[in-house]
Symmetry: C2
């Protein structure tokens, strides 16, 4: 299972790395989760430079594509040099977005008529793109999911695992990363968020 | 305010980056949060290579030092070449550790008689180091704190903010990163975890 976490210049560390950490709980099952970037390295919104594990084109043949967010997403949403490198197909891929990543799903025409989740800062831009924004952390329909608020990245990752490896695998991944002493409660809460969509 | 997030080869992305993301909510107040490493770059447990923002010695004069965790912590705990570069002082610094980072606090003699939190994998090693391990996500006493379970990194970061900038600043940081639609509940829960220690 190839999973591309799209990570752009100015990225939000929480959005890319919470998903990456949780999805890598499936590494022993052969899942291959890759930080996927338009350049050889990208620097986060807080100045952390990360080497790309894959070029952007890796996303086009990946089984799952997750759009992270960041401080330059509005610029990327207008950057044809970057966006034209992506050819995604929701009939063959699971596609998700976190916070401002939702704006990129919108401009790529992947949301169609679906309402979406995003963060409070990005909300007006997503509405401008013609999308209904919901006041909830997560929504999915068929192969498209969106999440809002950095820590919702855990729901996006768990949704991917639940869709491709079943509910029990998603529960195990959440259990592992949850705080000690709060593991059962965290699994129960996460699955209550995801249950309508899996 | 200089804050070193100690990040070693084989590091857990969740532990270093959740703390970094949340602490950087204080960037506008002049806080300077730095990924601090023993080498010019480190590669995570899941293959992500990150450039160090500071060398290990930055920790010695930082206001706050947080030990991240990773898959090679047991080796680092025996590596005098690395540990001898650290000269920390809990009378002048806030010092925290996440998951296997707690083992490093123990071997550096910083825990003294304090019970500690860590993850379930590291727990037997920390017990072997003579420390009582608690079945809870977070504990702090004076300037020393430990957290267990990757997502507890949010408590460690919020504790630092609460200690140095007050409860309201910690609440704001947690509010910002919390899932949309769960912000008030997340703040309330986090502060209930931290309240005994701030």
């Amino acid at each position: 299972m190839n999973i591309a976490i799209l990570t752009f210049e100015g990225f939000n560390e929480l959005d890319s790395f919470i998903a990456l950490g949780i999805l890598n709980r499936m590494k022993s099952e052969g899942w291959n989760i890759q930080i996927t970037c338009p350049s050889e390295s990208v620097t986060s919104m807080n100045g952390v430079t990360v080497q790309a594990q894959q070029p952007l084109e890796f996303a086009n043949s990946a089984d799952v594509v997750l759009f992270g967010s960041g401080i330059y997403t509005r610029d990327i949403a207008k950057n044809k040099m970057i966006l034209d490198r992506l050819t995604l197909d929701p009939s063959k891929q699971l596609i998700g977005a976190q916070c401002s990543g939702t704006l990129l799903l919108a401009v790529l025409g992947l949301l169609k008529e679906l309402p979406a989740c995003t963060d409070l800062t990005t909300k007006p831009w997503v509405i401008d793109a013609g999308v209904d924004v919901l006041n909830q952390p997560f929504i999915a329909k068929e192969s498209i999911a969106t999440a809002g608020g950095c820590m919702s990245s855990q729901y996006l990752a768990a949704w991917v695992i639940a869709k491709l490896a079943g509910r029990s695998a998603a529960e195990s991944a959440i259990y592992y990363v949850a705080p000690v002493g709060e593991k059962e409660a965290t699994v129960s809460h996460s699955m209550s968020i995801l249950s309508p969509y899996i």
